[in-house]
């Protein structure tokens, strides 16, 4: 058994037995790790308060390779994101980042780039609440590229000709031009303004800020398209519950 000290983001926390919690972390050193925080739900537990999703923490835990769930020893805050948020939308997008990591990454796949991407996106989201949707689109583009499924918004994946507006085929995961489309399959239209925005986001430096995502014409949901694209390449269906719930909550508040 070794003692691991590492930075981590709390993805989710599940109550376990009477007083404990099982916490899913994405760590800098070991990738996705589950730890048990014994007695964490007791009133005077030293773990209490640290185990909520969106916490950026430093953890010390006992690691045994043969065990699926490791044992948490110590935890301290580095930063907590969205602490005083009164906007459900903000928190829902931030939680969607955690949900993506939980669903896209399987096993103990260590990748420091993923960790840094998460931390940077969370920091940006927390201090640029007006650009939260843009930051999430940026995150989806970057995580897709980091996982090895970089999107090509410049050329048709069939004829390799430059793209102006394009079509996305969910059944093949391809971004193609109109000439190459087999309209027997369902396709989504990616207008030129969407392609332009994606090309800008791919090159942009997060620290310099993100351009606002505003479309002149009604269009497909870009987030749905990107999740569908990643989902196709991961070879299993992914639905982001955080965003589904968000849509439901927003609808209810507007209805009121």
């Amino acid at each position: 058994m070794t003692v691991i000290k590492t930075e981590a983001l709390v993805l989710k926390s599940i109550p376990f037995k009477e007083t404990s919690s099982i916490v899913q972390l994405y760590t800098k050193e070991k990738g996705k790790v589950s730890v048990i925080a014994k007695g964490a739900r007791r009133l005077k537990s030293p773990f209490r308060g640290y185990l909520e999703p969106l916490s950026y923490v430093e953890v010390i835990y006992y690691h045994k390779p043969t065990r699926e769930i490791q044992t948490l020893s110590k935890i301290e805050f580095i930063q907590t994101f969205f602490q005083n948020s009164t906007e459900i939308t903000d928190t829902a997008y931030a939680m969607a980042v955690m949900e993506c990591i939980d669903k896209f990454i399987h096993g103990h796949q260590k990748d420091e780039r993923i960790f840094l991407l998460m931390v940077n996106v969370m920091k940006f989201m927390d201090s640029n609440r007006d650009f939260i949707k843009e930051a999430f689109i940026y995150f989806l583009l970057k995580i897709s590229a980091t996982l090895g499924y970089k999107t090509d918004f410049s050329t048709c994946s069939v004829c390799k000709q430059p793209l102006k507006s394009a079509l996305y085929e969910p059944s093949t995961g391809r971004i193609i031009c109109r000439r190459c489309a087999d309209f027997q399959e369902r396709v989504l239209l990616l207008r030129d303004e969407i392609l332009d925005y994606m090309r800008i986001l791919e090159k942009v430096d997060l620290e310099a800020g993100l351009p606002k995502f505003q479309l002149a014409k009604p269009s497909i949901d870009v987030i749905d398209f990107l999740v569908s694209y990643i989902s196709y390449h991961l070879d299993f269906p992914v639905k982001l519950k955080s965003l589904e719930i968000l849509a439901n909550l927003e609808f209810n508040i507007e209805e009121k």
Binding site: S242, E244, N248
Partner: protein, 198 residues
């Protein structure tokens, strides 16, 4: 293969399904029941069946009760202009133990949880909105977790504009804790919610 008689083995298995009861504790309880009188065992069995037959949820507040509406909802001595919103029936019990609160309750049956796909339709939120006609204050006594926070914000947005005061129970340090062991968020909340001594 177990050397225990089938009936005893069955009881151990049933008891070990209880929260906080492991195989060893279940064995201990089963042997205790085996040694106790028949009357004691029958009384226990009867009590278990009775709670299943007689306890229902109140159609007003969704708390557990033997009558509908429950005793709290129909008690004329209670303040019918205040509703305290809680997650689970156990929370009603905890607040009632204080003896401080004399208003009504509303049990949500959980909290909104975007990561677990629990939305407003899975909770008793619509019934709460239907109860607000004569209410002056809604107290949100929801656990201070991330999901709890989302639920509190959502409820306060739904109630906003109805001329109802929406408050939340204070957050901070439990009695008897050493300040140095408190986490930063709890301490910040405690400082934000500080009150005058005199």
């Amino acid at each position: 293969m177990s050397s225990l008689p089938d009936s005893l083995q069955n009881l151990i298995e049933q008891l070990s399904r209880f929260p906080g009861i492991g195989k060893k504790s279940a064995q201990r309880l089963s042997f205790y029941l085996l040694k106790s009188s028949r009357e004691e065992a029958v009384a226990l069995a009867k009590a278990i069946i009775e709670i299943k037959d007689r306890i229902h949820t109140c159609s007003h507040c969704h708390n557990i009760s033997e009558v509908d509406p429950c005793k709290i909802c129909t008690d004329p001595k209670r303040d019918h202009s205040t509703i305290c919103v809680v997650q689970e029936p156990m929370d009603v019990l905890a607040i009632e133990k204080t003896g401080y609160y004399r208003g009504l309750y509303h049990v949500l049956g959980g909290v909104l949880s975007p990561l677990n796909g629990i939305g407003p339709d899975d909770l008793n939120i619509q019934d709460l909105l239907h109860r607000l006609s004569d209410i002056k204050e809604v107290i949100l006594a929801i656990n201070p977790t991330r999901d709890g926070e989302i639920t509190s914000i959502y409820l306060s947005k739904l109630v906003k504009g109805k001329e109802i005061k929406v408050t939340r129970i204070a957050q901070g340090l439990p009695i008897g804790i050493d300040l140095e062991f408190a986490d930063e968020i709890t301490l910040t909340r405690a400082l934000e919610g500080r009150t005058n001594i005199l």
